[in-house]
């Protein structure tokens, strides 16, 4: 009987296992091959190419660094700890409200980017309708008076990407794109809007702006 993958991984890493498992693996060609495969896979994972950071990141970091950092003694004060605990609770509450609201929208209407595999197969009109619903949610989400530079940069970037997609989509009306291309662009637009909504809500929560759901259930 062969050991399970957990024991084989332990053997791969040279950590101790039960004697009977070690003896089996030593004698079993199939297990030795599997351990060799796991070793090779580890090497291949380490050899995967890295990701280049977006060029604008350093500028955004510079802007953030130019803002004064919170003083350490304030972070350690009893009142601040209590405030942080309150903020954390409020963040969790608002996040749950957001998730609840999102689920409600997803459950009661056509899926909003919840499963992009399904979204890809959806009609153009459905994708457009979903985009409009996300835009309505974004419009109801006010921007804070003071923004974190990093978050603001991310929001700007997402909005810029949406604008680029909008420019490309405008070609559809002129017959510049076929249906499949238009569907792909709308799906991408939906993904970006969904990301933007997530970032905007996190920004709102970070600023302690926790409005209760309105009469329509929206945040």
């Amino acid at each position: 009987m062969h050991p399970g993958i957990r024991e084989l991984l332990t053997l791969r890493d040279g950590a101790p296992v039960a004697a009977r498992i070690a003896e089996h693996a030593k004698a079993c060609e199939q297990c030795r091959a599997e351990i060799a495969r796991l070793k090779t896979l580890g090497t291949q994972l380490r050899q995967l190419p890295g990701f280049a950071p977006p060029p604008r990141t350093w500028i955004a970091i510079g802007q953030a660094l130019s803002n004064p950092a919170p003083a350490p003694d304030r972070l350690l004060g009893g009142r601040t700890v209590a405030l942080a605990a309150g903020l954390l609770g409020a963040t969790l509450l608002s996040a749950l409200l957001w998730q609840s609201e999102r689920r409600q929208v997803i459950a009661t209407q056509a899926p909003i980017a919840a499963d992009f595999g399904e979204a890809r197969a959806e009609s153009l009109s459905s994708l457009v309708a979903q985009s409009q619903r996300l835009e309505a949610l974004l419009r109801d989400l006010p921007r804070p008076a003071v923004e974190r530079a990093a978050t603001a940069a991310t929001i700007d970037e997402l909005q810029a990407r949406i604008q680029v997609l909008d420019a490309q989509l405008s070609d559809t009306q002129g017959g510049g794109l076929d249906r499949a291309q238009a569907q792909q662009l709308w799906t991408s637009r939906l993904q970006l809007l969904d990301s933007l909504l997530g970032v905007r809500y996190a920004e709102r929560a970070a600023h302690g702006d926790f409005g209760a759901p309105n009469s329509t259930g929206e945040i």
Partner: protein, 195 residues
């Protein structure tokens, strides 16, 4: 092993960066931003979130350079901050649903026509990695690539060593299932049900 272990930042650069020297800070960013961003992308996958976390990590590092006292490598200290930030994000309730979907949100970086077998294999591996659940993906990356021990991962996740081992096994079982047709290696039949 992790690329972080090969990265050296001269003490003089660190000293100048502590005084707020812009060039020294830029040097630190230049040498560490790619491995940090790669690590974050591997853990959280979503590019926009990873970018935000990258900014957070460097703002925290550059504001708190005085907290690094030269014990252990500087790159290792930076990595620990990046991992902590990424895992905080993974644990945050508001992003849980996004994370479940994140493999669907990242465009495939396929090599396209004319790519070599090795490049195609890398694409397959990349896709399989992104397809893993966030937790399993994080643990396989931290353990197999970054070289974290199960005890360290257990501490990071506030869980047991057995939890870390189980998640790693789960990740590898899924990777084997998805990649096996390409490996041609027969899987072992588990002797126990804990794989």
């Amino acid at each position: 092993m992790s690329h972080f272990l090969d990265i050296q930042v001269p003490d003089e650069t660190l000293e100048r960066a502590r005084t707020g020297d812009g060039d020294a800070r830029a040097s630190i960013f230049a040498v560490l931003s790619r491995p940090v961003y790669t690590l974050i992308r591997r853990l959280v996958v979503h590019p926009a979130v990873a970018e935000d976390l990258l900014q957070d990590v460097f703002v925290e590092i550059l504001r708190n350079l005085q907290l690094y006292r030269g014990e252990g490598s500087f790159a290792g200290w930076v990595r620990s901050i990046a991992v902590r930030k990424a895992l905080m994000h993974l644990r945050s309730p508001w992003h849980q649903r996004l994370l479940f979907d994140d493999s669907d949100r990242v465009p495939d970086s396929t090599s396209g026509a004319g790519s070599t077998a090795a490049e195609e294999w890398q694409d397959d591996l990349e896709r399989a990695l992104n397809r893993l659940p966030a937790l399993a993906r994080s643990i396989v990356w931290l353990h197999d690539v970054e070289g974290y021990k199960h005890a360290e991962i257990a501490q990071l996740f506030g869980n047991s060593v057995s939890f870390s081992k189980s998640q790693l096994a789960r990740a590898h079982a899924l990777l084997r299932e998805w990649l096996e047709p390409r490996t041609g290696v027969l899987p072992c039949t588990p002797v126990s049900g804990n794989s």
